[in-house]
């Protein structure tokens, strides 16, 4: 059974965002890691990079495919998960925890309100699986 924690916000491109005070942590969802299969490489931006909502901020590569990562919000990158460089499998094992990807300082907090909540994302995933 896939997990979509209630305290996170989601995108239709299958990223999640967790608010932490004025900052936000970003990763890919349980559905995304399952669809990708074994993740073998994660390419993340440099600290300090300015992200724009909806634009790519990195690449995740699995045995099956290579996918772009899309920024859920605009903002500046404060930190990236260095562990993923040597242990990309964390994304599969713990997508909402040890598999986090970047921490950002959102520049337009109203963008967060445009993201899906867990119920809406769950419904979106269900509709995706039907097609």
């Amino acid at each position: 059974m896939m997990e979509f924690p209630e305290d996170l916000r989601y995108t239709k491109a299958h990223e999640w965002l967790r608010r932490k005070g004025t900052e936000a942590v970003i990763g890919i969802t349980d559905f995304a890691q399952d669809a990708l299969g074994d993740v073998v490489f994660v390419e993340l931006p440099a600290v300090g990079t300015q992200l724009t909502q909806g634009q790519t901020f990195g690449v995740v590569e699995s045995n099956k495919t290579v996918s772009d990562l899309f920024a859920p919000v605009s903002g500046r990158v404060l930190a990236v998960n260095q562990v993923l460089r040597d242990e990309p499998e964390r994304v599969n094992e713990d997508p909402y925890g040890a598999g986090w990807m970047i921490r950002v300082a959102p520049s337009r907090s109203e963008e967060i309100e445009t993201l899906l909540d867990a119920a809406a994302y769950r419904a979106f995933v269900a509709s995706e699986q039907k097609t």
Binding site: V40, N63, E89
Partner: protein, 489 residues
């Protein structure tokens, strides 16, 4: 019988050698710069027979077009006639130094001139460059020509390249490398690029459209003329990726479709050995308006003589040392001369017939995502096998048990779980039937004994490799284990 075989480094014994060399006279002192200071620990020390057995055994693990049907979609793994190998080894070709004066290389230059002429004829375009060393290199030349063309007209607005979602993956990489932004144009429900979709995104910022025709679904772009007219109207150029020309050679010409630039994959369409990294050849043909920008040197006629000329002020410069991969060009000319014009057309028709025979026999059993009539290859998906827990990769692995190389899988990306089959014209009906029968049996196995398919292959020397570990923790280089006795006298 497949024999196990260690690495060559793991064979042998210290001090063993294949050749007994005479002892060096004490009076010879090698100059310091020629002496090797580090020792040779880790180098294989093996007999000649060990070397022969090592490489013969490794060769027996190979799958190749010489062993079995090689139906890799998009790759055109047709048979490479052995006589071409004999021809390319003629000393006049193989021993020719690339710096020999033009007047002493007239035969080789004449061969290149013949190839240029043949490629102009089959493309319906005006000028040819033989230098690109592979398809993607030809693409890069094409996009550099696009840049040179717009720059020469002082048209600085153009920063985008349109690429349909059914294009070759290299197209986007090429455009990026040439400094352009890529804009993807979705294909319609037929799997085709529509004039309407192009019209929606075509504007003055578009430098060119890169279109693969037929596309990676094996479908002919029916609206190509209208699409090209739209692009030209707004000042853009049309680049055609010619990787799939085995479907149209001698039947349809890029120039007649409104294409301005096209590349050929001689190693695919014109039958020269490829796979495993080349060498290839990706000549480019262009319309007269782009001829001025082609690389130097150019082949020109001076009276009865052929010569290289660098007199081309608008040229983008050199693309490759000398004139490309000459051996591949020789094989391509041999192929063209052996078949002749009508023969090339007939080969195309057979390639299309073979692919459609496979498609007709498999449809109904395997899901066909696009019903549009296809040309030289056909694309199925694993949709109807998924309820049994069997996926495209399992079908591909199980095919190995039946003695066939697997088709291209999970490409093109527009089809989920794609299985892309290109049999080429060189296969007999018997081989095609055996291949189709194997795929039909595998579909049956997927229903009745899915584990058998999921755990395949069972008859190869190794079964499933740990691809995840290979990607996450690749061992890219063999390193010698520490030796207990490293003294070599």
């Amino acid at each position: 019988m497949l024999l196990d075989e260690p690495l060559i480094f793991e064979r042998g014994s210290p001090g063993r050698m294949g050749w007994m060399l005479p002892a060096a006279p004490a009076s010879i002192e090698l100059p310091r710069e020629l002496r090797r200071e580090d020792d040779l620990v880790g180098m294989p020390e093996v007999s000649e027979l060990e070397v022969v057995r090592h490489f013969v055994r490794l060769s027996q693990w190979n799958y190749s077009a010489a062993t079995t049907l090689y139906p890799l979609g998009s790759c055109t793994m047709k048979y490479n006639p052995v006589v071409h190998e004999a021809l390319v080894r003629l000393p006049g070709f193989s021993a020719l130094h690339p710096l020999v004066p033009d007047e002493l290389a007239q035969g080789a230059l004449d061969l290149l001139a013949q190839l240029e002429e043949a490629l102009r004829a089959v493309s319906g375009l005006d000028a040819v460059c033989l230098q690109p060393a592979a398809g993607a290199h030809g693409e890069l030349l094409g996009m550099l020509l696009v840049r040179a063309y717009h720059r020469d007209r002082s048209d600085a607005r153009r920063r985008r390249v349109l690429i349909p979602s059914s294009a070759h993956g290299t197209n986007a990489a090429t455009s990026t490398l040439a400094g352009y932004e890529v804009r993807e144009v979705p294909v319609d429900q037929r799997g085709l690029l529509s004039a309407r979709a192009v019209a929606a995104v075509m504007d003055d910022s578009v430098a060119a459209l890169m279109v693969t025709n037929p596309n990676t679904l094996g479908l002919f772009e029916e609206e190509i003329e209208a699409v090209a007219a739209l692009v030209h109207e707004r000042g853009g150029l049309v680049y055609m990726d010619g990787a799939n020309q085995n479907a149209i050679l001698g039947v349809a010409r890029a120039g007649d479709m409104g294409v301005d630039i096209v590349h050929f994959n001689l190693h695919k369409t014109f039958s020269t050995p490829h796979g495993g990294g080349g060498p290839g050849a990706g000549p480019v043909a262009v319309r007269a308006a782009l001829g001025a920008y082609l690389p130097i040197p150019r082949l020109v006629r001076r009276g009865a003589q052929l010569a290289w000329s660098e007199d081309a002020p608008k040229s983008i410069g050199r693309l490759h040392a000398f004139d490309g991969n000459f051996g591949v060009l020789v094989r391509a000319v041999a192929y063209i001369l052996r078949l002749g014009g009508p023969g090339l057309t007939e080969a195309t028709r057979h390639a299309v017939l073979n692919a459609n025979y496979v498609r007709a026999r498999l449809r109904g059993t395997y899901h066909l995502p696009y019903e549009t009539p296809s040309l030289h290859e056909c694309v199925f998906s694993d949709r109807d096998l998924q309820e049994h827990g069997v996926h495209t990769v399992d079908v591909a692995k199980r095919l190995l048990d039946y003695g066939f190389y697997a088709p291209t899988i999970y490409f093109p990306l527009v089809v989920k779980g794609a299985l892309m089959i290109e049999p080429t014209e060189t296969e007999t009906k018997e081989t095609l039937d055996a291949f189709v029968d194997a795929l039909l049996r595998i579909a049956e196995e997927a229903r009745t004994q899915p584990t058998l398919v999921r755990e395949a292959p069972h008859r190869t020397r190794l079964a499933r490799l740990d691809e995840t570990r290979a990607a996450r923790r690749p061992v890219l280089r063999w390193r010698p284990p520490p030796r207990e006795t490293a003294e070599i006298s």
